[in-house]
């Protein structure tokens, strides 16, 4: 049973998903902060025999991975900056288990906004001010026996937006498969998925590695800027298509964030079509359209990656 020459294990990674964590950060005079994260840790390494020979001797239990998330969260100062916490977790698994070659850590941060009670920011009460999540990933891998490569990316997930006008779609291919009419005024709605990538960093292994190249980057500022750009462009751009709006968003992020060289967006076009009320003698087309029907399926899906370009010199 153990040896089978007809198949081979091509790739494998395993770990713990959906580890939920809330950290309270206590400040002075009763001022508190809260961070809520959902963490996924996947490990790659010499685990082949657990698949091919039912040998668990090298397997780190996923339950232990979950425990590690809590232990490190307790000790770390980085939990409020998920990008740094993610790479810290990833490096910990490589530092601790020599047979782990790569750690993939993905963290979702849930929104908790401080409550404003009678005009004053409340010291310890929060409300959920949006279902969108801040996402980040850190991939930590060994380059040789003493160095790690760290790839960090951040993004926005599940940011649902809608505008009632300021969007058109005309001049597209018309052929025998076309039934969609051109429109100069339509509802535009999408659920934003965005990801921006930072350059890889290389660190020496071990707890005392210099992290300057990672900690010098203000991930929070880049995230805030990217989220604001996404919302502003969505609202303000007189959209000729989801494609054109997407490109403007990505372009602006690269312009304001020098540490970012690549931006990816996936924007489903959540169709909202007018309802035909003609049988009832009601005008509901063009500028008279006020009643619409959202369609979950199918949706358009527009994706693109935009990268920074080098400039020539006079």
């Amino acid at each position: 049973m153990a040896s089978n020459t007809r198949v081979v294990l091509k790739s494998q990674r395993y770990g713990k998903d959906r580890v939920r964590l809330v950290k309270v950060i206590r400040g002075d005079n009763g001022w508190q902060d809260v961070v809520e994260l959902t963490v996924r840790v996947l490990l790659e390494g010499d685990f082949e025999t657990s698949y091919t020979h039912a040998d668990n001797s090298l397997v780190v239990a996923t339950d232990s991975m979950k425990n590690t998330v809590y232990v490190l969260a307790k000790q770390s100062n980085h939990v409020g900056r998920p990008e740094l916490f993610a790479q810290e977790l990833g490096r910990h698994f490589l530092d601790t288990y020599s047979h782990v070659s790569t750690a993939h850590v993905r963290i979702l941060q849930h929104r908790w906004a401080r409550m404003n009670v009678q005009g004053r920011l409340h010291p310890h009460s929060f409300r959920r001010d949006g279902d969108d999540k801040r996402v980040c990933e850190a991939h930590v891998s060994r380059t040789d026996h003493s160095r790690y490569r760290v790839d960090i990316s951040s993004g926005i997930s599940q940011l649902l937006v809608l505008k009632t006008t300021g969007s058109s779609f005309t001049n597209f291919v018309r052929d025998r498969f076309t039934t969609l009419p051109e429109t100069t005024d339509r509802i535009l709605s999408t659920v934003v998925e965005a990801e921006w990538r930072f350059h890889p960093a290389y660190l020496t292994a071990g707890a005392n590695a210099r992290e300057d190249r990672l900690t010098d980057i203000d991930y929070d500022e880049v995230y805030q800027a990217a989220r604001n750009i996404t919302l502003n462009v969505f609202a303000e751009d007189n959209s000729a298509s989801v494609q054109a709006t997407l490109y403007r968003m990505a372009q602006q992020i690269i312009e304001v964030a020098p540490d970012v060289d690549q931006v990816y967006y996936a924007l489903p076009n959540k169709h909202v079509f007018t309802v035909n009320l003609e049988p009832f003698g009601l005008k509901n087309t063009g500028s008279d359209a006020t009643i619409f029907m959202p369609f979950d399926d199918p949706s358009g899906l527009i994706t693109a990656t935009v990268v920074r370009k080098s400039a020539a010199k006079l």
């Binding site: 490569r149 060289d261 370009k309 080098s310 020539a312 010199k313 006079l314």
Partner: protein
């Protein structure tokens, strides 16, 4: 304004040379290595030529051609500090400032040049008119362009170049291209102009035409590192990463790293790293740091 004093290479054999300034002229005239010429000029301005604005100006020109912009800016600023009548220093300084993103300083530099070059010219007092600096300087240049007998006949090619820089700075690439093309009519062998035309074409999205202009520059002056850098950039932008890497490595090989460790070309190394990342070769990007031994890349790339 942008840098402070010029930093010299520490290991420079020209410091022992009896006449490094004359040696620099010879190297430049014969189209020799720019790094060698820069070292000779550095030795000259550290010795007998320390107060010679022209020597500093040449050092600045060579460093810009050698794709070492911040060194170029410092040397050219020093030339003008020593002698604000050193006319040939102004345009190269304005170019370097635009390249570094200091557009307003570049326009002010061009305005100073115009006042020196055409002292009798009646230049609009833009400060009083609250005009945009760039528009004000463009107006002055257009007046200068018409000043030769009041009609736009044989235009001073330097005025054309100045206008080209001003249009380029404002993103008016078509007009900038016209300026450089007409300046080239009177100076067809000016490799700097071919490169400036190329860069303007490249930044307006015409990478293929830009590449042809860079090749003209390199045909005239094969040691022109900046044109090779720009060629690399255009290759990156049209997705030819391997070719880009080869041009960039070729440019860096001309720097002869062993002799030049103080004034490194940040732009060349950065673009090389970016090209490696785009090829998904972070392993090579990690090696691409100033001072790296270029032989490490020879196995995989021709340069």
């Amino acid at each position: 304004m942008t840098g402070g004093p010029y930093t010299f290479e520490t290991d420079n054999q020209y410091l022992q040379h009896p006449n490094p300034f004359a040696e620099a002229q010879r190297l430049r005239d014969e189209g020799g290595s720019l790094t060698e010429a820069a070292l000779a000029l550095e030795a000259a301005v550290q010795g007998t030529e320390s107060a010679n604005a022209n020597a500093w100006r040449q050092l600045g020109e060579v460093q810009a051609e050698n794709e070492k912009e911040s060194a170029a800016v410092r040397a050219l600023e020093r030339a003008l500090e020593l002698d604000d009548n050193c006319l040939p220093a102004y345009v190269p300084l304005a170019v370097s400032l635009v390249n570094e993103g200091h557009d307003r300083q570049a326009y002010a530099t061009l305005e100073r040049w115009l006042r020196q070059r055409y002292p009798d010219l009646l230049i609009a007092d833009g400060a009083a008119m609250a005009m945009d600096v760039r528009e004000r300087v463009i107006d002055s240049f257009l007046i200068a362009a018409r000043s030769s007998d009041g009609v736009t006949r044989d235009m001073d090619p330097d005025v054309q170049v100045g206008l080209g820089i001003l249009f380029y700075g404002g993103g008016e690439y078509e007009k900038a291209i016209d300026c450089f093309v007409s300046a080239l009519e009177s100076r067809p062998e000016d490799y700097l102009l071919w490169n400036r035309l190329g860069a303007t074409l490249a930044n307006s999205g015409k990478s293929e035409e830009a590449i042809a202009a860079y090749h003209r520059a390199l045909d005239i002056k094969p040691t022109f590192v900046r044109a090779r850098y720009n060629l690399g950039v255009s290759c990156v932008n049209i997705g030819c990463h391997r070719e880009a890497v080869e041009h960039l490595l070729g440019a860096l090989a001309m720097h002869n790293n062993k002799q030049s460790t103080v004034n490194v070309s940040a732009s060349l190394w950065e673009t090389l790293r970016r090209s490696f990342y785009m090829m998904d070769r972070a392993d090579l990007a990690e090696l691409a740091q100033p001072g790296a031994d270029l032989d490490k890349f020879r196995g995989e790339f021709d340069f």
